[in-house]
């Protein structure tokens, strides 16, 4: 498993398209246990990323690419998800600085740093029914043999069953058990697209 600049770029463009397709679903989940804007926020952010990627197609450095994506997300998404996704990519950049590609420990280190970044930015941890519940098992799976896609699916299912205790969803308590966390779903979209390029390249 190796993440190249080109592969990450491809995964990001695919994510942008997938977010467009699932925009309403993300928004509807957020209407259930949030404030009804997650699809709109993610769409604004990843359309911004797409535009940046299309404008700057000579980037050869994984660190530069990650930083560009992180800053774009921070500047365009807003809400809770903007700083969280933005922080994740900025953290990738600190670990993948000056690298054309990342694999093995480097790859893991990037995701580890990103996941920790999300947790410390959000003052959150696993089990609170947030995007963290996707990022953490995904990152752990990078060091094992498990299928990344299966891990994501399982994590999504596990997250859905949780009671939210962080972010807007926490206002709705027990009720949140029946509804998927929108940020978990958007994270699964991003990470599945990254898994795709990691596994099939």
């Amino acid at each position: 498993m190796k993440l190249t600049v080109e592969a990450l770029r491809r995964a990001l463009l695919a994510t942008a398209d997938a977010i467009e397709q699932q925009k309403d679903e993300l928004t509807d989940l957020d209407r259930e246990i949030g404030d009804g804007d997650h699809g709109i926020n993610m769409s604004r952010g990843f359309q911004g990323v797409k535009k940046e990627l299309e404008a700057q197609n000579s980037l050869t450095d994984l660190g530069e690419l990650s930083k560009l994506v992180g800053m774009t997300l921070i500047k365009t998404v807003g809400g809770a998800s903007g700083p969280l996704y933005g922080t994740a990519f900025v953290k990738f950049a600190t670990k993948w600085k000056d690298k054309q590609s990342a694999e093995g420990e480097d790859l893991f280190a990037g995701f580890k740093e990103a996941t920790e970044g999300i947790k410390s930015r959000g003052k959150s941890q696993v089990g609170q029914k947030t995007m963290v519940d996707i990022w953490e098992p995904f990152t752990a799976a990078l060091q094992t043999d498990t299928s990344l896609e299966k891990v994501i699916d399982q994590a999504l299912a596990d997250t859905k069953a949780m009671v939210a205790t962080k972010g807007r969803a926490s206002y709705f308590g027990e009720e949140t058990k029946a509804v998927q966390d929108p940020g978990a779903l958007s994270s699964s979209i991003l990470l599945k697209n990254i898994a795709e390029v990691l596994l099939h390249d």
């Binding site: 804007d37 921070i74 809400g79 809770a80 700083p83 206002y171």
Partner: protein, 325 residues
């Protein structure tokens, strides 16, 4: 969805433009951003006051800019915290050299984005402090409590303190004093609609209501049959007075955006009766649409125990269009 709008993608900037156009001597936009500042910019040596958050709460937050209240307001997309770069511009616009206080409402997004902006501003040599408002008692867990209409009292009182020449620490202190005392709770008869998706925050039959709503169109914590307003008010007052035990109070009956003032005054009648029956003395009543959720129909009650210091700041002159004194 019944909404007067031109283009969902320009919803927020159209509001901000309209506000600035309608008050050309008072407001100015930071070029290219939905950040509003006092016309003429920061006041030298006065502590700057910046608020903001998602839009849809009009007249909050830009409508509270003006002599005696805020210096800048950062207007995110609807119900979406603004980004750190925007907040940074707000901080810069408000900084007159005496530092800047950020009034943040307790939402993950707002807290994170304003924090990141604070870091950026400090890199540029601006002294920044933050207070986080969490007056909404509908949420049990105190840590998760949302900032709602009580924020307006924080703007007013911290704004008056800043205008009177207090230092950043002193202004922060009085803001924290308000935050420690102020409590709110709200209800909705009908939802609001997100301009882009055209969808309501919740579906609610005409004969039901939500108790314990926030200001982002989300459903509340208890859904029940619509009742005469005195019964509704009694439920909110019951919860509020369990937490607010000082008897000398300022009261705000705040509309959620689509509530006509007629109904707010009618509501105030029963709210004040209920409070007085419980031995509270209402020394300052405020009735109006102060902290809204788009066109939502409903109201919230805010109680603020006051002392001479807070009263003096509440009564100080304000030129903010949302809170003229």
């Amino acid at each position: 969805m019944d909404k007067l709008m031109q283009d969902a993608n320009r919803f927020v900037s159209d509001i901000v433009d309209g506000l600035v156009l309608a008050h050309p001597n008072q407001y100015e936009k930071v070029e290219g951003l939905n950040v509003v500042k006092r016309k003429g910019g920061a006041i030298a040596d006065k502590v700057g006051l910046v608020s903001g958050g998602g839009s849809g709460h009009e007249p909050a937050h830009a409508g509270y800019i003006g002599d005696g209240m805020l210096d800048a307001a950062v207007c995110g997309e609807v119900f979406t915290s603004p980004t750190p770069d925007m907040v940074l511009e707000g901080i810069k616009a408000a900084d007159g050299g005496a530092g800047v206080l950020l009034v943040v409402k307790n939402y993950s997004g707002d807290v994170m984005n304003f924090d990141m902006a604070k870091d950026l501003a400090e890199l540029e040599g601006i002294q920044v402090e933050t207070v986080v408002v969490n007056d909404d008692i509908s949420i049990q867990n105190e840590e998760d409590r949302r900032g709602v209409a009580g924020t307006v009292f924080v703007h007013k009182i911290a704004g008056a303190a800043a205008a009177s020449g207090k230092s950043l620490d002193e202004v922060k202190q009085v803001a924290d004093k308000v935050i420690s005392r102020v409590r709110s709770m709200g209800m909705a008869l009908s939802p609001c609609y997100m301009p882009e998706s055209g969808k309501p925050g919740f579906e609610l039959p005409d004969d039901e209501m939500w108790i314990g709503i926030g200001i982002h169109g989300e459903k509340g914590v208890e859904r029940k049959a619509v009742a005469p307003v005195k019964d509704i008010a009694a439920q909110l007052v019951e919860h509020l007075t369990a937490e607010v035990t000082d008897k000398r109070i300022a009261v705000m009956v705040n509309g959620m955006g689509g509530t006509p003032v007629s109904e707010l005054y009618l509501t105030y009648k029963y709210v004040s009766e209920l409070l007085e029956q419980k031995g509270y003395e209402i020394v300052r009543p405020y009735v109006g649409n102060y902290m809204t959720a788009l066109e939502m129909h409903g109201f919230s009650i805010t109680l603020l125990p006051v002392d001479e210091e807070l009263l003096q700041y509440l009564d100080a002159s304000s030129k903010a269009i949302g809170f003229l004194v």
